[in-house]
């Protein structure tokens, strides 16, 4: 099952996502990220530093949400966006020869995806020394345009990473 076109368009046409995590005391934390949406697996990926607060929060609480939206300062009826809620999975930082073939392939695909989407800004080098890739296993997606809402629930599927 593919997600509705309007959600898909938002996920493909925007560069910034706003990721919300929270720690074990339920204190939320919010950061802008670059992300890619992978249609095959219906997951959202982003890259972050392994020492960041996000990673610390995710290791305490894997719940995550991300909002991607178009904002119109003049007409609120043009405001359009998607919020995805789900469980985050932090990729292993094992040396490359310990990773499964599947994982490697996914790494490679997502890496290329990032490279093509953000080539203008990240100089062909989407991942740095201490960066890790996060995949969001989406459980629920909300879409809005102006005052109209649409909500979508996802079936729990098997995780790609072992």
């Amino acid at each position: 099952m593919n997600i509705p076109d309007e959600m898909r368009n938002i996920l493909y046409a925007n560069y910034f996502g706003y990721v919300c995590t929270s720690d074990r005391f339920d204190q939320p934390h919010l950061t802008p990220v670059f992300f890619v949406y992978d249609e095959n697996s219906q997951k959202i990926f982003f890259i972050t530093n392994e020492r960041s607060k996000k990673i610390k929060n995710l290791s305490e609480n894997p719940n995550i949400s991300i909002t991607i939206d178009i904002r119109d300062p003049v007409n609120p009826f043009n405001n359009e966006g998607v919020m995805a809620q789900g469980i985050a999975n932090i990729t292993d930082r094992a040396p490359i020869y310990f990773l499964s073939e599947e994982t490697l392939q996914l790494y490679y695909d997502i890496y290329l995806e990032f490279k093509s989407k953000y080539q203008l800004v990240i100089d062909n080098k989407p991942m740095g020394e201490n960066d890790v890739m996060i995949q969001i296993n989406v459980e629920k997606m909300v879409y809005w345009k102006g005052p109209h809402f649409k909500s979508l629930k996802f079936k729990k599927d098997s995780q790609i990473f072992s």
Partner: protein, 408 residues
């Protein structure tokens, strides 16, 4: 090092009392209570020994209460300033250091105004032929009684002097701080907590001034002394109120963040309940001091915030053409949700914020109010739209790829 610093920030009185057991063994609060008790006991013993009238006892009691309440207020100054963190602006830091140095100068300037009040006062009482002394302790009182009364007078005068001294210095400090704040660049600022401390000390001084009204019954037969007391009260309260007001106008955000918050149109609000997070865009206003956003009464985030008022609030400037120019600020902290019960106390603030919203988002306001909308989008304050204030505890600021933590 720390010890010597602490010792420096003491006034004569604090210093002397701090060396005499049992006062030296107790915390400030108990030490003051003990002093109160000590003075009361001496007063009562003297009263019985010299068989003075009950009314005199009451005057004495009143004077002791005034002196001790003043002690209580004024002694909060040193510990508050001691835990003061340095402002992130060299000029503002210099100013506050200078302020502290004058306040707790090793030459004990703070005793001068006290002396300047004490000497003329004694002269007035003993040589200008007023019958104050007679009213207080009767005709031809014993010398010991006179010494005790003089001690009380010194106690009162010394603290009156301290009141004038601290409130005048506070006003000077606030005016200078406000001026320096206008010249800040980038991330220079004095953190919010510190500004609040200064404001709290100013409010303390207002009470300090008001307490002097308790002296009126003691001076009631002497018009001149009544006038002096009222003038004193007015001076202290007035300078302190002005000082607190000026501090409230000092921005608690450094200019870079202030401008970002002031110029941006949208923000994101992140909430969390039972670990499940939620993030949505919101419109917000900033009045120079406080950040408010609006949410629909139907919104999921409102229900969440009512159960867990911890939030993350992010404002950013995004620009794909040059990501190193991107700026973002995240406030983490709590929210205050305004409802019906807040109308009596916060009506003007709520109306003012509504006005801000209409000014910042004129098109939104127009579009929202002219169309037929679902309930979730209606604008009626309180009934359909809920006002929420963000109360930051922590600030993270990003400029390009750099992450900076800014103290609140």
């Amino acid at each position: 090092m720390v010890k010597s610093e602490q010792k420096e920030k003491k006034w004569i009185y604090e210093d002397i009392v701090g060396k005499i057991p049992p006062f030296s063994l107790l915390s400030t609060k108990y030490s003051i209570l003990l002093q109160l008790l000590f003075l009361l006991v001496i007063g009562i013993i003297l009263g019985f020994v010299f068989d003075i009238e009950q009314i005199s006892m009451r005057y004495g009691l009143l004077a002791i209460v005034v002196a001790v309440s003043w002690s209580l207020l004024i002694l909060q100054l040193a510990p508050t300033l001691r835990k003061f963190r340095a402002p992130l602006s060299k000029d503002e830091n210099d100013l506050l250091e200078k302020y502290k140095n004058i306040l707790f100068h090793k030459n004990h300037y703070e005793a001068l105004p006290g002396l300047a009040i004490f000497i003329p006062f004694m002269f007035y009482i003993f040589y200008l032929g007023t019958d104050m002394m007679e009213m207080w302790v009767g005709k031809e009182p014993n010398k010991i009684l006179i010494v005790f009364v003089s001690l009380l007078i010194w106690d009162i005068c010394y603290r009156m002097g301290l009141g004038l001294w601290t409130s005048a210095l506070a006003l000077w400090r606030s005016i200078c701080l406000k001026k320096l704040a206008e010249k800040r660049t980038e991330l220079e600022h004095t953190p919010y907590t510190e500004l609040k401390y200064l404001q709290k000390l100013d409010i303390n001084n207002v009470f300090f001034g008001l307490i002097s009204l308790l002296l009126l019954p003691i001076f009631k037969t002497d018009e001149f002394l009544v006038t002096v007391t009222l003038t004193f009260m007015f001076l202290v309260c007035f300078t302190s109120v002005i000082s607190a007001y000026i501090i409230s106008k000092v921005p608690w955000l450094p200019p870079d963040i202030y401008n970002l918050v002031n110029e941006s149109s949208f923000a994101y609000i992140g909430t969390s309940l039972g670990g499940v997070t939620h993030v949505t865009p919101v419109v917000y206003v900033f009045d120079g001091q406080k950040i408010y956003f609006n949410t629909s009464k139907e919104a999921k985030k409102l229900k969440t915030m009512k159960q867990n008022n911890k939030v993350a609030f992010l404002i950013d400037k995004r620009d794909m053409s040059n990501i190193y120019e991107n700026k973002a600020v995240m406030f983490t902290g709590e929210v205050k949700i305004y409802g019906l019960k807040d109308i009596p106390l916060s009506l003007f603030r709520m109306l003012g914020t509504l006005h801000h919203f209409m000014k910042k988002y004129p098109d939104y306001t127009k579009k929202y109010s002219t169309s037929e909308l679902p309930k979730a989008w209606q604008l009626t304050p309180i009934i359909a739209r809920i006002l929420v204030e963000v109360k930051p505890v922590k600030i993270i600021y990003w400029r390009g790829a750099k992450q900076i933590s800014v103290p609140v």
